[in-house]
Every structure is written in C-alpha cells, then in structure tokens.
C-alpha cells in the first residue's frame, strides 16, 4: 500500500494547521485514498496506475488547499466573533478555564481533598479567631449611631480610695449629678453600673446579671422597648424606691415565655418585689461587650436594694461609668475642652473629707476627657484582646506553612504537565493566558477552601467562646457574620491563592518549550533552579514551625507554672459559702456574734474539717488595703498593706502555716485590745529585725480621724492575696469579731472531703433550720481560682494545638521534599552503590541533606523567635520570652520529627537496587 498519509500531509503542510487537526484530516483522507486505491485495483487496474490515478485526484490543481484553507480559516476566525471583543472573549475564556480547572481537580481527588482540607482548616481557624476579635474589639454597640457616643473619664487619675463596685468604677454619683447638670457637649447622658442581683428569697441564691442605669440611659442609646416601656427621666428621681425594672429579651423569653403578661408582674430582686415595666429588643445586650444583662433598675433604686451598704450619696463610692451622645457639630476635642473646663469646680465640690492632703491635691487636679466609645466598654476585651491578636498571628503563620506545602504540591503537579504546557507554548499560546489557566485551579481551591473555612469557623468560634466562659456565667457576644469577617476571609483566600498558586504557575511556564519537549519523561523537573525553590520553602516551613513551637512551649509552661504555683495555702478542698442575712434584720451590735454562730454551726457539721468566716475571699480579685505606719528602731515606714478580716480557724481552714504566736480566739472581740496577725512579708517590710510579737503599728483612718493602733500577736506564712500572678504582698489579718461596722452578711470558707453536692445540701439544710430567709451563694474555691487563669489556659491550649499542627505540616513538607530528592537522584544513588557505597553511606548522604535544611531552618527560626516572642511577654508567668530551655526544647522536638520524616525516604534510598536504579531512565 502506498503511503498516502505523507502525500496528504505534504499537501497540507503549507496551511499551518493545528497539529491535532492536521493529523485527523490526514488520517481521514488517507483512508479514503486507500479505499479508492483498493477499489481501482479490484477493478483490474495495475497498482502503479491505480496509485497515479488516486494521486491525480488528490492533486487536482490547488483545489484541496484552497478549499481547506477557506474552511479552516473560518474555523480559526469563528471563535472570535461572538459578542463584543474584549469582555466577551474574556468571559468565555474564564468560563472555559473554570470548567477545565474543575475537571482537572475532579480527576485528582487525592490532591484536591488534601488541598481543600488544609485550606479549610487554615482559613477556618483564622476566620474563627478574627470573628471573635471582631465581636470583642471591632464591632460597634447595637445602639443608635454608636459613633456619636463618647466615654467620659479622668485622664490623670492616680490613687483613689473608698468603696469600689462593678467593672468600671470610674465615678461617684455626686460627680455624675454635677456632670449631668453642667455639661454642654452631650444631647443625652448614659450612666450605669454592672452588678449581680439575687432573685431568690432565702436559701441558695439565684444570681442574674443586673445593672443600675440612669433615667436617660435607654433614650440616649435609642433603645425602643419591644413590650411595655423603658425608663425615662421621671423614673430616676432621688428617693424613688423601686418604681420598676426593665428586663432583657432573653430573660423575658426564659422566665416568662415571651408573654405580654410579664409586663406588670413582679420579680423579687434581693428580696424586694419589683414590677416589670418593659422589655428591650433581642439584639440589645447592654453597653459592656461580652456581658449581657437581665434586669435593669434605675440608679435611684440602689439605696432600696443595698440598704445600709448603699453608695449613692458617698463621695468615695466609686461605681458608675459614664458616656454621652455628642450634640450635632460637637467633636471629641471640643467636648474634652468643655469637660476640662468644668472639672475643677466639680471635684472641689465632691472632695471626700477623708482624703489626706496628698491625695486631696491629686483629686482636685483631676481633668476629665471624652474618648470615642462606639464599641462600648468590655472586661472581656481587656483580658482577651492581646491574646486574640497573638492567636491570630499564630493562626496566620500556620496558614502560611500550609500554603508552603500546597505550593510544593502545585510544583509537583506542574512538573507532570510540563510537556503539555510546553507544546501549548510552542503553538503560540500566550504565557499570560497559560498562567491564568493554571491560577484558575488555585483560585477554585481557595474559593472552596474559603467557603468550607467559613462554615468550619462557626463551629470553631463556638468552641473558642466556651474557653471564655466561667462558672459565673457565659460570655454573651454577637457572633454574626458581618462584612468585616467576610472581607477578612475573602482577603486571606485571595492571598493564599496567590501565595501557593502564582509561583508554581509562573515557574511552569518559564521553561523554554524546546527544552521541555526534548527531555525524557522526567523532563526538566530535575532542574536545579526549581528544586532550590522547593528547598527554600521547606526551610521557611521549619523556621516558622520553630517560632510556633517556642511560643507554644512558652505558653504551656506559663500555664503550668500558674497551676502548680504554691499560693501559700492549700487551694483544693475548700467551698465558699456566702451568707446574706439582711432579711433577718439583726441589729448591727449583734451581727458579729451571729456571724460567729454561723461559723461554729458549720464547723460542727459532719464531714466538715474546719470552717472560718472571712471578709476578702482569697484570690478573688477583690481586696482591701490601707496605709500602715510603723516606727521601729528609729526607722519610719509609711506604706500600703493589704488587709483582711477573719474568724478564728481561718489559717487552719486554708492550711496557711502559723509561724509565730497564736491565732485569734474568743477573747479577741469588741472592747478587747485591737490585735492583728501579720504575714512574713509584712514583717520584712514594716517590722524588719525587731521581734514582731508584741510590736505595734498604726493604720491611717483618714484626715481628721486618729490612727488605729494594732498589736501583733502572730505571724503566718505568705499567701497570694488578689491574684496568683502578683508577688507575695504584706497582709494584715484582723478579727471579724472586732469589726466596728459589721454588715449583714459573711462569706465562710469550709474545708471538707465531702463531695460538693453533699456539702452544699448539708449547709443549706443546716442554715434552713436557723432561718430559711438566709441567702446562700456557693462556689468552689479551686474552680474560682482556676477561672482567673482562663486566659493562660486559652493561650496554652490553642498555641499548643497550633504548634503541633505547624510541626505536623513542616514534617509533611520535609518528607515530601526529601522523598522527591531521593526519587530524582535514584540514578546517582544507583551508581554510587554500584561503585561500592554501602547502605549506611547512602543513608548518611540523604540524612545530611535533611540535616542541612533543618539546621538552616532552626537557625532562622531561633532568630525569628527572639524577635517575635517579645510581644507575648506580658502573657507569660515565671518565664522570660528568651527562655533558653524552651527554645532548646522546641529545637529538639523539631529535630526529632525531622529525623523521623527524612528517615523513611532515606531508608528507601538505601534499599535501592543499583541495577534497577541504573536501568531506569
């Protein structure tokens, strides 16, 4: 059979058709010619004659070429015609690229699954943390025009003394009244105090989140009730008693099922029935982010609720935070100026008589200012803002490491498609278009990863929030997706797409086509240039993992330090029972006795090892301090010391060692000499070398009041007072029984080995026998103390998790690169082994490669750690950021996993059969 294909090809050669098209035409026409030839031969024509005839038919003039050219030219021109050039063709290209990308990913399910999973986890974690940050820091209050709100505060306040209540005790009521009347910058003022209300009438307390608010609170914030009405100025007049309460939407749903009959019904607040006036909308949670509210009372109701311990008229009763809505046209600066102008008169009029000259001078010099308050105030923010930013940085780093892995994967895929890309480049495809097509895959992966990430983030955020809850109540946050969160997710999705997609795409199209097509099946993938980039990526991964591991170890060790800290007393096994016997109306003169009776009764309960009354519960964040004045061996010391009031048996209950002297006893009561027990820090600070027992010291009682004198009868070991993180301060213990102004309640510490439930019911039962109207609030001391460590627990858990994840990703990256290197050098290894290298040498060769990468990575990582961990210094305890032991630990861990990761490919390399390796090309 003559070769008709060549003939046809020759005729078509001048047409410059696309190779596949040309091949198809050639095949078809050649078949036709062959059949024609066979037909002629079958008819009896000679082979040569038949061949000539067939070829003559083919070569009829230039007809074939002319016709085909016309047809094929139409073919080439046609796609450009539809729609307008530019936008139309771009959209068509994008659509085509998208379909192509989807198909390509579908055909590689393993790769796609790994990529999408890594992206979903990385993007999801970042989005989750950002979502929390957004809710805690960035979001505005759910009120009308929050940007018009200004927080009023004193710009230069130093020491104040008096009674402090609530989360933001910035001002007293007398100061507030004067600001309200004399300010000009604000169209409305907002004043509030966050407090807990007990809704139970006797027995175990039922605490809810409450607040006192001024009459204009809701109106200024633009909050309209969904049922009933909210407070107005008339509801907040001095001496109002209990005109009514405004409740939150969630409380309304929970307590009353959302029925309108709730309006007008009464709820018992601290034993007083209060009528419900109205309900606020569902999205309003108050003005403190992270803390919701349930019941609000007007400021003027505070005396009715607090009775003897009311603060409303006290010039040293600090409990209110104040905001104002700027009048149209007023700026923060102008408001500040006006507030500064009225400051001197206000503080002069409200100067507490108690203040000594130094403190008085400072007080009179206070200046007020206005600062933006669109995002309200927040305790949660104070505690968690910095940790959240650090966690975001950590999560971002993990995402970068994941991107490096993805980039390596994309490089590997690009290698496999080298020939295809080279052919297309040779045929005239523009490099830009090819890069575009390759990027479409990355874009698709990022998009799917981002959407999965957002969904995953909703779950992760809820988990994160659960870390922030304490036994006293859960965190209330608006976690809806707003434009900031979605924008953040979109931005990091695009960024990750560029990071792991662009470099491989550009590199893939950079190879000269002729080189790619000439080379064997392994192609130019062996190019040193490209491999260098992959090695650099692994080094970067190792470095970043080092930073994250160092951070993780720092936080974990910090948390451990706090948990295992010796607080000076035994934290476990103690229950705190806070008793409130206001309802019993016991006259003040008999209260100390009553308190001791409660303690004695509880000590006698079966299963209770000991019990003691106290004023300040250890490590609860509250405190009492006063200025102590001593004059020992001619040296005068005038310093602040912490104080506490306790009953006998306190040191036994808390297992604080009594070092010298004695505990309080029944002889220490009102009328007996004022005695005190001090701790070792106090001795060091105030008494120094003299024998403490029997020495005396004086306590400041305020201007114009004589100092109190105390005699030291005992010395105890140091204990933590307010917070585990502070140093051991000097503490003075004075007897509960010598309290000159006892209030109608006492916290009692109980040490027992009973279970919490058994103990609480025993206590409830016992106190119920005394009088069922006594209110009781229980908490486990150890849990309460652990709750103060939540921030550290959050950092330890999450940074540990991320550190582990980073190490895992870096290990995978290292494994991938080493495996790849081994595969690439199979030939070389085969030759070496054929020439006499034994397995150990091959092993060493590979491991050395890995070791070099690891060493460089660790060195860079160590440098980065030193630079970056400084930012976390304030969150650490018992360690410095440059702690060498921690860095060594991180380096060793990474080395261990790196060795494991590179061992397997190295082992495989050593098992290569030289002849097989050499045979492979």
């Amino acid at each position: 059979m003559p070769d008709f294909k060549t003939e046809v090809r020759e005729r078509l050669s001048r047409l410059n058709l696309e190779p596949t098209r040309e091949a198809a035409i050639v095949e078809e026409m050649a078949q036709h010619l062959e059949q024609r030839f066979e037909e002629l031969v079958a008819r009896g024509m000679g082979r040569a004659t038949a061949c000539d005839t067939v070829l003559k038919e083919l070569k009829e003039g230039t007809r074939l070429e002319k016709e085909l050219l016309q047809v094929e030219r139409q073919v080439r021109v046609e796609p450009a015609e539809p729609a307008a050039p530019g936008l139309g063709s771009t959209l068509a290209h994008l659509q085509k690229d998208l379909r192509h990308a989807m198909r390509s990913l579908r055909l590689n399910p393993a790769f796609s699954a790994i990529a999408i999973l890594s992206l979903a986890l990385g993007i999801g974690a970042n989005t989750s943390i950002f979502q929390l940050l957004d809710a805690v820091r960035l979001r505005s209050l759910p009120v009308k025009d929050p940007q018009e709100l200004a927080l009023v505060r004193v710009s230069n306040s130093h020491g104040r003394s008096g009674n402090f209540r609530g989360n933001f005790p910035y001002f007293t009521y007398p100061i507030f009244e004067r600001i309200r009347d004399q300010q000009q910058a604000f169209s409305g003022m907002v004043a509030w105090n966050s407090v807990g209300f007990n809704l139970a009438s006797g027995g175990r307390s039922r605490n809810i989140r409450g607040m006192y608010v001024n009459g204009d609170f809701f109106n200024t914030l633009g909050i309209l009730p969904v049922a009933g009405r909210v407070f107005s100025r008339n509801d907040d007049q001095r001496g109002c008693g209990l005109p009514g309460a405004v409740i939150s939407y969630s409380f309304w749903q929970k307590e009353f099922g959302g029925k309108t009959s709730a309006i007008g019904s009464k709820i018992p607040v601290e034993g007083h029935p209060v009528e419900i006036m109205g309900v606020t909308p569902a999205e309003f949670y108050g003005v403190e982010v992270g803390r919701g509210y349930e019941v609000a009372l007007p400021l003027c109701s505070e005396p009715a609720i607090d009775g003897e311990s009311q603060v409303i008229d006290r010039v040293d009763g600090w409990w209110l935070a104040i905001m104002g809505r700027l009048k149209p046209g007023w700026t923060m600066a102008r408001a500040t100026a006006q507030l500064e102008a009225i400051s001197p008169a206000i503080f002069k009029a409200t100067l507490p008589a108690r203040y000594q000259s130094e403190m008085a001078k400072q007080y009179l010099g206070w200046k007020m200012e206005a600062v933006p308050a669109a995002s309200g105030l927040s305790n949660l923010r104070r505690t968690y803002e910095d940790p959240l930013w650090i966690l975001l940085a950590i999560a971002g780093t993990v995402l970068l490491i994941a991107c490096a892995n993805l980039a390596n994967l994309m490089f590997a895929r690009a290698n496999a498609r080298e020939r295809e890309i080279a052919v297309r480049l040779a045929l005239g495809a523009s490099r830009f278009r090819l890069v575009q097509q390759l990027m479409m895959e990355s874009l698709l992966l990022s998009a799917v990863g981002a959407v999965s990430g957002i969904l995953l983030a909703q779950v992760l955020t809820r988990i994160l929030v659960s870390f922030l809850n304490t036994q006293f109540g859960s965190v209330v946050l608006d976690l809806g997706l707003d434009w900031r969160v979605l924008g953040f997710t979109a931005a990091i999705a695009i960024l990750t797409c560029l990071l792991f997609g662009l470099a491989p795409a550009i590199k893939a199209t950079a190879t000269p086509p002729i080189v790619a097509m000439k080379a064997g099946s392994r192609g130019v993938t062996a190019g040193r240039q490209r491999f260098g980039l992959r090695r650099a990526l692994v080094v970067v991964q190792v470095a970043m993992s080092m930073v994250l591991l160092v951070g993780a170890f720092l936080f974990v060790r910090s948390f451990q330090n706090l948990v295992n800290l010796n607080a000076g007393f035994r934290q476990t096994g103690m229950l705190v029972a806070e008793f409130d016997f206001t309802q019993l109306n016991i006259p003040p003169g008999q209260r100390n006795q009553f308190k001791q009776q409660i303690v004695d009764r509880l000590s006698a309960l079966p299963g209770v090892d000991s019990a003691a009354g106290v004023w300040i519960i250890p490590v609860s964040g509250s405190g009492w301090n006063d200025t102590v004045h001593t004059n020992t061996s001619g040296q005068e010391v005038r310093e602040v010391s912490d104080f506490n009031r306790i009953s006998p048996g306190f040191f036994k209950t808390t297992e604080t060692p009594l070092i010298k002297g004695r505990d309080f006893g029944p002889e220490d009561r009102l009328g007996s000499p004022a005695v005190a027990i001090v701790n070792e820090s106090f001795v060091r600070k105030f008494i120094k070398d003299k024998d403490p027992l029997g020495s005396t010291f004086r306590v400041d009682e305020g201007a114009g009041v004589p100092e109190s004198v105390y005699q030291v009868i005992g010395v105890v070991g140091d204990t933590k007072y307010r917070d585990l993180r502070e140093d051991f301060n000097s503490i003075v213990y004075v007897p509960l029984a010598q309290d000159k102004k006892p209030d109608a309640g006492v916290p009692v510490l109980l040490r027992s080995s009973l279970s919490v439930d058994s103990l609480t019911s025993a206590v409830e039962h016992s106190m119920g026998e005394v009088n069922p109207s006594i209110g009781i609030n229980f908490s486990v001391l150890r849990t309460q103390i652990r709750d103060t460590l939540q921030r550290e627990r959050l950092m330890a858990s999450l940074s540990g998790f991320f550190g582990f994840l980073a190490g895992l990703l870096a290990t995978i990256g290292l494994y991938g690169v080493i495996s790849y290197m081994v595969a690439r050098r199979r030939n070389e290894i085969g030759i070496r082994m054929a020439l006499g290298a034994d397995r150990t040498r091959v092993l060493a060769l590979i491991m050395r490669e890995a070791a070099i990468l690891l060493a460089i990575g660790l060195a860079i990582g160590a440098g980065l750690s030193l630079a970056s961990t400084r930012a976390a210094a304030s969150l650490l305890f018992g360690l410095k950021p440059h702690d060498p032991a921690t860095m060594a630990l991180a380096a060793v861990s990474l080395t261990a996993v790196a060795v494991a990761a590179s061992y397997f490919p190295a082992f495989r390399a050593a098992r290569i059969h030289p002849t097989e390796a050499l045979r492979e090309e």
Partner: protein, 114 residues
C-alpha cells in the same frame, strides 16, 4: 452528458443537499458517501477526495452534520458523519427549495416529468 461547466454548477448547488440526504437515515463515512452519490446518480455526479472533504468539513463547521471517529472490532477507526438537528432543518428547507426550483424550470422550459 452534461458539460463540465454545467456539471460543476449543478454539483455546487446540489452537493450539500445530496450529502445531507445521504446521512439522513444513518451515519456514513466519507468514502461511503462518495460511492453512494456516484452509484445513485448512475455516474452522473462524481466527487473525489479534493472536492468532498472540504465540503464535509464546511458543513461540519456549520453544524449541519457531525463527524466522529468510530472504532469497530478488527478495523481501523473511521470517521462517520451523521445529520444534526439543524442539519435536518436545512435539509427540509433545501428539499422544498429544490422542488419549487425544479417545478419552475419545468414550467418555463416545458420538460415533462417521467
């Protein structure tokens, strides 16, 4: 016997109709189409490689016929063409057109139908 010039004219006008009607009932490959035209016209109409395939490709680009490679057991793959939906419409239109054209010619030139 038609003159070469007339032959070409007739062919040009009718070729597409011929091809479309040949693939109406079943798919055929190029050589088959070529032979059928020759046999059914008793040799009056004849195509060869150089004239057939450009036409087939043109009709394929227009979407009137669709070609695809078919593998049959024991044979090399061949390219078969079949009529598409739009091709069917075109066939119907061209048939009608031809019928009216032929009728008009008859009318004018007085040719009696056999």
């Amino acid at each position: 016997m038609p003159t070469p010039a007339l032959d070409r004219e007739l062919k040009k006008g009718s070729a597409e109709l011929l091809v479309l009607s040949l693939v109406e009932d079943r798919q055929r490959h190029g050589y088959e189409i070529c032979k059928l035209i020759e046999s059914r016209s008793a040799g009056a109409l004849r195509f060869n490689v150089a004239s057939l395939y450009p036409m087939l490709y043109r009709m394929e680009k227009r979407g009137w016929i669709q070609g695809r490679w078919v593998d049959k057991a024991g044979q090399r793959r061949r390219r078969y063409y079949r009529l598409t939906a739009s091709g069917r419409k075109v066939l119907r239109a061209q048939r009608t057109h031809w019928q009216s054209f032929v009728a008009a010619i008859n009318q004018i030139a007085g040719i009696e139908n056999a």
